[in-house]
């Protein structure tokens, strides 16, 4: 178990590797640093950034995955955001989408609000929780090499939702701010999928 081990992965490098290997996956980001990490790699029409609605990232990903069963959806969020949606792990597991992957960037802290320690830093193992809930795969990853392996694994078909906990370094990086206009982000994602705003 690596439950209490503080992370050392460079979050931006990890996210860059995941995005370089996204291969058409639609990306939903959780508020705060994960949103900045994804934007820092490059803005894109198929990124849906959340700026609020804490606890909503994985579930927004579920709805998107159910509406677009032929596309992969990758949620990139933080430990605090995922902890707020603890029950969502049950809901997502029961729903059972085989095209939804959840990446939790786990620095074991609430970085946006002053680096208070979160539950994952106090013994709660989110990957074990997802595994117990019945996710098809749920693992903790502690190195960038492990992220490279994960990128290869993500390209293989799944039998259900998957969750990966990336133990990242607890450090606030310069913000990389995506558009804040929620209707713009929505409309361009829908246009990317062929739905016109009329």
């Amino acid at each position: 178990m690596v439950t209490d081990m503080a992370g050392t992965i460079d979050r931006r490098a990890a996210v860059a590797r995941l995005l370089e290997a996204r291969n058409g996956a639609l990306v939903v980001t959780g508020l705060g640093s994960p949103t900045y990490d994804v934007h820092a790699h490059g803005d894109s029409d198929d990124n849906y950034y959340l700026w609020g609605a804490m606890g909503g990232a994985a579930l927004t990903g579920l709805g998107l995955a159910q509406a677009q069963p032929d596309r992969r959806v990758m949620v990139i969020t933080g430990d605090g955001e995922m902890l707020m949606a603890f029950g969502a792990l049950a809901t997502i597991s029961v729903a059972g989408p085989s095209n939804l992957d959840i990446i939790v960037l786990d620095n074991q802290h609430y970085g946006e609000t002053g680096m208070q320690e979160s539950h994952t830093g106090r013994g709660i193992d989110l990957a074990a929780v997802a595994g117990a809930a019945g996710f098809d795969d749920a693992r903790t990853i502690t190195t960038l090499d492990g992220v490279d392996t994960l990128c290869m694994d993500l390209s293989k078909p799944a039998n259900g939702p998957r969750l990966y906990l990336l133990k990242i370094e607890a450090r606030n990086l310069p913000r990389s701010l995506p558009p804040r206009d929620a209707t713009f982000i929505k409309t361009r994602m829908r246009a990317h999928l062929g739905f016109q705003p009329c």
Partner: protein, 182 residues
């Protein structure tokens, strides 16, 4: 509401059969996705949607999950409805900032508790606060007092939601649901 004919089988008694009529209304509006926290008042509609192979349904652990799921479904081009009882509205408030701020269509069907022939006092505070809370966060509220109201309001709420980018809740009066037996 007016007396415009509803698109319903002539023999249907809407005062009793509004849940089945509601199912037809949602199907006619091309709703193919539903999320719910179980409620006795929604039993028939939940069963009809659950049994429909063309509809994806999600059982939720808490109501706000359905708000985020419906937002994601619309992003992916699918019309979603969220079913809950009034106590669940309180759980939804911050998550409603997602569809409200992104002007994402949202249709909520809410069965009321704590307002008529209620036996459980713990249902009363949230029942009293339901409409105010929804309106405070920016959701449009319609209140249905009869079976015909429920069907007619949902029909037009579906248009206002999915065609006019609205976030709309139809509250189904507890008077219509009958006294809970236990």
């Amino acid at each position: 509401m007016g007396n415009a004919p509803l698109n319903q089988p002539a023999a249907r008694d809407l005062s009793l059969e509004w849940p089945a009529a509601l199912y037809d209304t949602l199907k006619a509006a091309d709703v193919r996705h539903m999320s719910y926290v179980p409620d006795a008042g929604h039993t028939t509609l939940i069963n009809l949607l659950d049994d429909d192979p063309d509809v994806t349904t999600n059982v939720l652990t808490t109501e706000e999950e359905g708000i985020a799921i419906a937002t994601g479904a619309w992003l992916g081009g699918m019309r979603s409805v969220v079913l809950m009882q009034s106590s669940g509205v309180g759980n939804c408030i911050n998550m409603l900032s997602l569809p409200v701020q992104s002007r994402t269509p949202l249709l909520m069907l809410v069965t009321m508790r704590g307002e008529w022939n209620e036996f459980n006092p713990w249902q009363v505070p949230m029942g009293r606060a339901t409409q105010t809370c929804l309106e405070a966060i920016g959701v449009t509220v319609l209140r249905a007092e009869t079976g015909r109201d429920v069907v007619e309001m949902t029909e037009q709420a579906a248009t206002m939601a999915y065609d006019a980018d609205g976030q709309i809740a139809v509250l189904i009066a507890q008077r219509l649901l009958g006294k809970k037996k236990w």
